[in-house]
């Protein structure tokens, strides 16, 4: 995984840090304190302006209790609504209901 300014390297690493942080009701400062980094760095990570080192990526993985590939990806993440409801959006039936009993 590249370490440094993602745009300068021409290699962008996408992530779900903002979503995960919001789900847990954490401020950037809270997350920064937990990971022992500057809170500005969390903003850079969330905007994919900075690709973290493996050490920081593993620290995030441990903190959120998720595998690294659930947090970081080389391709943009699909929106959660699209993953749950499919590409048709609000008019479609959630996949779990389709598979359930009639």
């Amino acid at each position: 995984m590249p370490n440094g300014d993602a745009n300068a390297n021409g290699d962008k690493i996408f992530n779900r840090i903002a979503v995960l942080r919001a789900e847990r009701g954490l401020s950037r400062q809270d997350l920064a304190d937990a990971l022992d980094v500057n809170y500005q760095t969390i903003g850079f990570l969330e905007r994919s302006d900075y690709a973290p080192s493996l050490t920081l990526a593993f620290a995030l993985s441990d903190y959120f209790g998720l595998p690294i590939e659930a947090i970081f990806s080389r391709q943009p993440f699909r929106p959660l609504s699209e993953q749950i409801y499919g590409s048709n959006g609000a008019n479609s039936v959630p996949a779990s209901k389709k598979e359930g009993p009639a």
Binding site: G25, G43, G65
Partner: protein, 195 residues
């Protein structure tokens, strides 16, 4: 990087990159103007040397990066950029620092610091090369030898200031708009958890 700077006890917001760039332009243009005036007023260069030292040791710490020891301790006295040697100083525990987190550079800041030094090194190499060429042109006096050695001396003075301030100035110049210190804590999601 800090989001504000203290000037005569008054905090000035520096989150905007435009404002930070204006600050850098003001810093170096006032140095150039004062240096030129000092050379004009006193051709022997003593006053110009005073201007150089003033900017290096008194005004340079406004930018941060390289600081003198007195400025390590009080965070309000420090410049915009964290001390370049912050991690090393914390490791050695030579100073009692009240706010180690503000003092320590994380991995992104260390990357920025090293990249800024790489770029500053190129500028300094250019200045030294130019000074050497002007001092004694290598190609059989194809360039007329300067009778005014003062220009070479002034270039070296500028190089001296830049050696102490340019890495911090590059970081201040290139860092995008910063987010304010305080941020609202988002309401926790109630229905799902990413765990």
């Amino acid at each position: 990087m800090k989001t504000h700077i203290n000037l005569f006890g008054k905090p000035i917001d520096m989150t905007s990159r435009t404002r930070r760039r204006r600050f850098i332009v003001l810093f170096y243009s006032s140095f150039a103007a004062l240096e030129a005036a000092a050379w004009f007023w006193s051709p022997n260069g003593n006053e110009a040397t005073t201007v150089m030292l003033l900017f290096t040791f008194l005004l340079g710490p406004l930018l941060g990066g390289y600081l003198n020891r007195a400025q390590y301790v009080r965070s309000e006295d420090r410049g915009l950029v964290k001390p370049f040697a912050g991690n090393e100083i914390l490791r050695r525990r030579r100073f009692k620092v009240s706010d180690p987190k503000e003092f320590r550079n994380d991995e992104r800041e260390l990357t920025r610091r090293d990249r800024a030094h790489y770029r500053a090194y190129g500028v300094l190499a250019g200045i030294i090369t130019l000074a050497l060429i002007l001092y004694d042109p290598p190609v059989n006096h194809a360039i007329p030898v300067l009778t005014e050695r003062r220009i070479v001396f002034a270039l070296l003075q500028a190089g001296y200031l830049l050696a102490f301030t340019l890495p911090a100035a590059i970081i201040i110049w290139t860092e995008p708009d910063l987010e304010p210190d305080s941020e609202e804590r988002p309401a926790a999601a109630t229905l799902s958890s990413a765990r």
